[in-house]
């Protein structure tokens, strides 16, 4: 199996504190890869390193074999990386549908002149974008809400809207940052189904999540972090049986 995303000796220090230390792992194309760890394990720092918000202190991140060092988030989007946010990042000044349409930015005609004059080609592209965005809202289960303003949607709906927006860029790699946080059991079950369907589209999923039931149910592989270091990596069964994980994280007696 080829690795779509790979890190080698990835390290990030903040004034002597190793938030992420010497981390080397690969994510197989098409897999659902979970990243778990107790609070302060370095998950957020790792996400910020993967998505170009932080620059590594040492080591590197490669997507499709390409070193991403120094690339800002909007360039990483061009490499096929998309993500959702733990604390929602929805554009509340736009409609739900327009939020998803923004996700297709890189696949649109971005000519300023064409936009000003509203040329026919641009209009067709926009109509197509609108249709695809509506399809994606339907895909994530928000088919009834396409006409709504984003600020009228419930929390659970906004979580799905972020997934629709992330999918709109047709990413190779989708990073879901706590997609089930704040959701009840029913909503979490629905998100689980949705993540499976996303993976079936051939999109590689990196899942950062606290809900162990969800993680164990859908992950192909799990990376366990503790104090910024890799504690274990493997299938859910392997991780569950790992003594280090049990003592450090799942809580041994």
């Amino acid at each position: 199996m080829t690795h779509l995303l790979e890190t080698s000796n990835l390290t990030k220090t903040f004034g002597g504190v190793h938030a992420v230390a010497d981390l080397s792992f690969g994510v197989e194309a098409g897999a659902i890869q979970a990243i778990i760890g107790p609070n302060g394990a370095g998950k957020t720092t790792l996400i910020n390193l993967l998505t170009g918000i932080y620059t590594p202190s040492a080591g590197d991140v490669r997507i499709d074999g390409r070193d991403t060092r120094g690339l800002p988030p909007h360039r990483l989007a061009g490499l096929g990386l998309s993500r959702t946010f733990q604390n929602l990042q929805i554009c509340m000044n736009m409609s739900a549908l327009e939020n998803v349409m923004v996700g297709r930015h890189l696949r649109m005609n971005r000519s300023f002149t064409a936009a000003l004059l509203r040329l026919p080609a641009l209009r067709r592209g926009d109509a197509d974008c609108r249709r695809r965005a509506a399809e994606l809202m339907d895909f994530v289960g928000l088919g009834d809400l396409t006409e709504r303003d984003a600020d009228t949607l419930s929390y659970g709906a906004l979580k799905r809207l972020e997934i629709a927006r992330a999918l709109a860029s047709e990413p190779k790699l989708l990073l879901l940052d706590e997609p089930a946080a704040g959701l009840n059991a029913n909503e979490t079950a629905a998100i689980e189904t949705l993540i499976r369907r996303v993976a079936e589209l051939g999109i590689t999923v990196i899942l950062v999540e606290h809900d162990m039931k969800l993680v164990m149910a859908i992950s192909d592989r799990i990376l366990v972090l503790d104090h910024g270091k890799q504690l274990a990596i493997g299938t859910p069964a392997e991780v569950r049986a790992d003594p280090a994980v049990i003592s450090a994280y799942l809580g041994a007696a």
């Binding site: 998505t51 909007h74 736009m94 349409m101 930015h105």
Partner: protein, 314 residues
């Protein structure tokens, strides 16, 4: 039907009709003059609204671009004998280059810092206009020749009204097109969530710079035309109070509403005229009206009224 009524296309048609019919109500050149000033302010406000209302970047220095546009064409045509059809485009180029040069460092800032930086820029421009008297006539201002096309001088309020009205319709058409395009959605996304826009692949810095330059050019064009219309310009055209007025028009009419910017310009230009009867109480009443609008319609006039109409049509 409801969507069409609430969409910009219907508004554009309505605007064109209103502008075409308005002169029927004008009794004398003074009415035309007031109307032209409404149009001037409206064009600047529509451009500024793209930056402030849609992209969410504050500028407290836009009158600086307006004043600079006026002075560049004024100086080139009055002192250096440039043809006005060349000096006006040159004014746009100068302002565009200046706006582009300062945009990158300025737009790295946000919130209060951005407001302060643009405020400083506007003040700097007026200081230069005021002190470089050998070129600008200093605080006393300078005389600017009229626009001349093939030996025919553009003169008289009716012609100027027609020109400015056509320009406003054009500006609104361009603004509506832009907002409802991939570029416009990217700009609004920058306002809604900068980081979400970046993740979607939007080069947020590039877009902020772009819209800053575009709105500065709107101001410069209007400033340049104002210079030739009024025939006399002073550094106050680019002053701090004018910058505040432009932002107030956008906020009062409704942020992120192109027609709101026009209504804001209309109200803020007409209100002082209507309130002259109050003599020294004029500013008090003026302030009270503004406060009432912001308290009772915090989203601005047009978005609040649109919600009402939308509810009514449902």
């Amino acid at each position: 039907m409801r969507n069409w009524i609430l969409s910009g296309r219907a508004g554009l048609l309505l605007l064109a009709v209103v502008l075409a019919l308005a002169p029927l109500g004008f009794g004398n050149p003074y009415h035309y003059d007031i109307a032209i000033h409404v149009l001037i302010n409206a064009i600047v406000a529509v451009g500024l609204n793209l930056l402030v209302g849609y992209a969410g970047q504050v500028s407290l220095g836009h009158a600086g671009f307006f004043g600079l546009g006026a002075y560049v064409t004024g100086i080139l045509s009055a002192h250096y004998g440039w043809h006005t059809l060349l000096s006006i485009p040159m004014a746009l180029v100068v302002v565009a280059v200046l706006a582009f040069a300062v945009a990158r460092p300025i737009l790295r800032l946000s919130g209060h810092y951005l407001a302060m930086a643009t405020l400083g820029l506007g003040i700097l421009i007026t200081i230069v206009l005021r002190t470089e008297g050998w070129l600008t006539g200093g605080p006393d201002g300078m005389i600017v020749p009229p626009i001349e096309i093939l030996g025919w001088q553009l003169f008289g309020e009716a012609y100027w009204y027609a020109l400015m009205a056509a320009l406003l319709v054009l500006a609104v058409w361009l603004a509506l097109n832009l907002i409802d395009s991939p570029v416009g959605r990217a700009l609004r996304a920058v306002h809604g969530s900068d980081v979400a826009a970046q993740v979607a692949g939007v080069n947020t810095t590039r877009y902020k710079v772009l819209i800053f330059v575009v709105s500065a050019v709107f101001a410069a064009l209007t400033g340049a035309l104002t210079a030739h219309y009024s025939g006399f310009i002073t550094p106050d055209l680019g002053g701090f109070m004018r910058s505040i007025e432009f932002v107030t028009m956008v906020v009062l009419g409704g942020m992120a509403s192109t027609f709101g910017a026009i209504v804001g310009a209309l109200v803020l230009t007409l209100l002082p005229q209507l309130l002259t009867g109050f003599d020294e109480l004029e500013m008090v009443v003026f302030g009270a009206v503004l406060m009432a609008v912001i308290i009772f319609m915090p989203r601005g006039l047009v978005p609040s009224l649109r919600t009402l109409i939308g509810r009514f049509l449902r």
